[in-house]
Symmetry: C2
Subunit: 383 residues, 2 copies
């Protein structure tokens, strides 16, 4: 089964609702920047590269809508979102809908509002800001054209970002697969899979590429509380692909390593700082510390769009703190004692010294640091 | 609220059903060794010291029943257990009930069967075997007396083990409290509280004693997947006591330490080997490795009954692997993808080198090793 995490269908963006996987596989439809932003915030779509692609489509949708190339939306914005009582503590992001074909709407003002609501959806993954920046440049390049022409150009760019993401993942996968020996038992945290991207995946893309290259590998998936991306999404993707996968709770990773049952770790990332520090799903740091103790290589699958040279080190990466409800239980089931305070940082930072290698579409950067990352990005810029 | 985890009431053992806390606080009644064993296996009662006390009562109950000092049980064995669909993959442990006042039952054979079923209930906590050994010695000391007299003596011993457990916890608590500075933010894993003992607690007993001594402390509780002892039991106990408590998922411990929000770690233990290696709830090892990296003291609250000199090092401690159902979700809610393999080791081993100190009722053993533990136990034996 080929997973299309996001797809353009019938003049709308459709995204797999990742909150209800694996119990159900359903697409939700999106017509506006505000609804896409809400889809990102509420984690219908998650994973840094997928968030970037979704944001690009959010910009394109807003342009199409403002230029009246889309029919006005009739109560279908964020379709299906209302029926789920997930993470409702943060107020929904809303934009005036300008609906009903009101031609007086100022295109530029509307577009700026669209960019703003998308940028406010989630703070940690840099791909969101990277994609918005890229879409803005395209817009600026055709700013003198008609809204309709601008909208078509932005939609074409969103399609290109999606296609590029899959190409990059496959190239990255091939580089990463070369690092895994035949028979390797590889631990991963969270879901850096097809569902975290436009398809194929970053960390799970490495596993897919290894299998495609004829290697037998098996995967150990941390369940990844509180949102359970490992138990629900990574396990599901690997089962679909017939790649052997074993699920553990997050606190079992050390035991598995101590037992000699882990040969390598591969994870994704939401943002890499200029010095090689890696922000990724909460718990990644713990896995990296344990891997170091057990001399197990710790790799980070990292498309270049995830490297943020504007941030010197990991301590400057903004870490999102999400709703306490996520930690109290799962979905509508709450098990935590009443009256307890709750923390819910969604990401942590793994210092570069714990990273064996960054796997990029331009090859593997071993022991990343300021110099090696600067050189990589300079090579890319000059090629 | 004073928590009586186990109590003798109306000629039966009552135990708080810890599987349904904190949603409900209910006692279940036990009349036989087999039903107590089932209560231990299914985690109605858990925590090494509490398991020891329960096992002692299990032996006493069996003696009372076999000597016909208890009315025969009428379908009330394991009362309430059947109505919960928890962890049903392991067949129930059952003993022939010899019911209805059949006087032909051989007391000695019946008692041996009782010891056997109790010893098979859970493998890791040494307190279980320690309590059975102690009860056996008492039995041997009065073996020539009538079954009725033996039963009364065994019941008195079970009462003494319960009372002793609380006294020991309070002494241990005072020793441990002296290690915590005023204002300390202390992380704990799992539940080593009143609910894991006859009352007061080991790790949480240290916190209670610190507060009783006038120190302001706050607790950070790992939720402790898969059984969620931290979220359900530790958080609940601390809220009852008005001790400030913050709940995190297990994978957030490293983040909290990196942020400088943890001053000390105190955990309980299920068995300490002769060299100071510590078996405790799965995930403890991970916390210890992180504490070491961040130079945070890592203390283990450890009654002497938990030290097992017959085991040279942690690698010889048997680690229970429990049902996959526990990891698939929680109670009846399953979220894991279908078809995934699952591991569920219930404990891990923290090497002695990571332990800053063992807190015992005879004082604190800093940097425990073979010599210091041997000396401690020799001092105890000679006093």
């Amino acid at each position: 089964m080929k997973v299309e995490t996001l797809r353009w269908f019938n003049n709308r963006l459709e995204m797999v609702d990742q909150r209800i996987l694996p119990a159900a596989f359903e697409y939700l439809s999106y017509y506006t920047a505000a609804s896409v932003a809400e889809g990102i915030r509420s984690m219908v779509v998650r994973g840094a590269p997928a968030i970037g692609v979704a944001a690009a489509y959010g910009v394109a949708l807003e342009a199409l809508r403002l230029s009246q190339l889309l029919p006005p939306c009739r109560g279908k914005v964020g379709m299906g979102v209302e029926s789920l009582s997930l993470d409702t503590s943060t107020p929904s992001l809303t934009l005036p809908l300008h609906g009903g074909g009101d031609s007086s709407v100022d295109f530029k003002t509307g577009m700026e509002a669209g960019f703003t609501v998308l940028a406010a959806s989630r703070p940690t993954a840099v791909n969101l800001f990277w994609a918005l920046q890229r879409m803005r440049k395209v817009w600026e390049g055709v700013a003198t054209q008609s809204p309709q022409e601008i909208a078509q150009r932005l939609l074409a760019e969103a399609h290109e970002i999606l296609a590029e993401d899959i190409r990059i993942n496959k190239t990255m996968g091939a580089h990463g697969a070369a690092l895994l020996k035949d028979g390797a038992r590889v631990l991963t945290h969270c879901n850096a899979g097809a569902l975290a991207t436009a398809g194929w995946g970053t960390a799970l893309g490495v596993f897919r590429s290894a299998v495609e290259a004829g290697k037998k590998i098996s995967v150990i998936a941390d369940e990844t509380r509180p949102f359970l991306q490992g138990a629900r999404l990574t396990a599901w993707e690997m089962v679909q692909e017939n790649i052997p996968v074993t699920l553990i709770t997050d606190n079992m990773a050390g035991y598995m390593m101590a037992q000699g049952e882990v040969d390598a770790v591969v994870v994704g990332t939401d943002r890499v700082a200029a010095n090689g520090d890696v922000a990724n799903k909460i718990g990644t740091y713990m896995v990296a510390v344990l891997a170091k103790r057990h001399n197990i290589p710790f790799y980070v699958a990292c498309p270049l769009s995830t490297i943020d040279l504007s941030i010197a080190s990991g301590k400057d990466i903004p870490i999102e703190e999400r709703s306490a409800d996520e930690v109290k239980g799962f979905r509508d089931t709450h098990w935590a004692a009443e009256g307890v305070k709750i923390r819910n940082p969604s990401f942590d930072v793994t210092p570069a010294e714990l990273v064996t290698g960054l796997i990029t579409e331009r090859g593997v950067v071993l022991q990343p640091d300021v110099q090696s990352i600067r050189k990589l990005m300079a090579d890319v810029a000059s090629s």
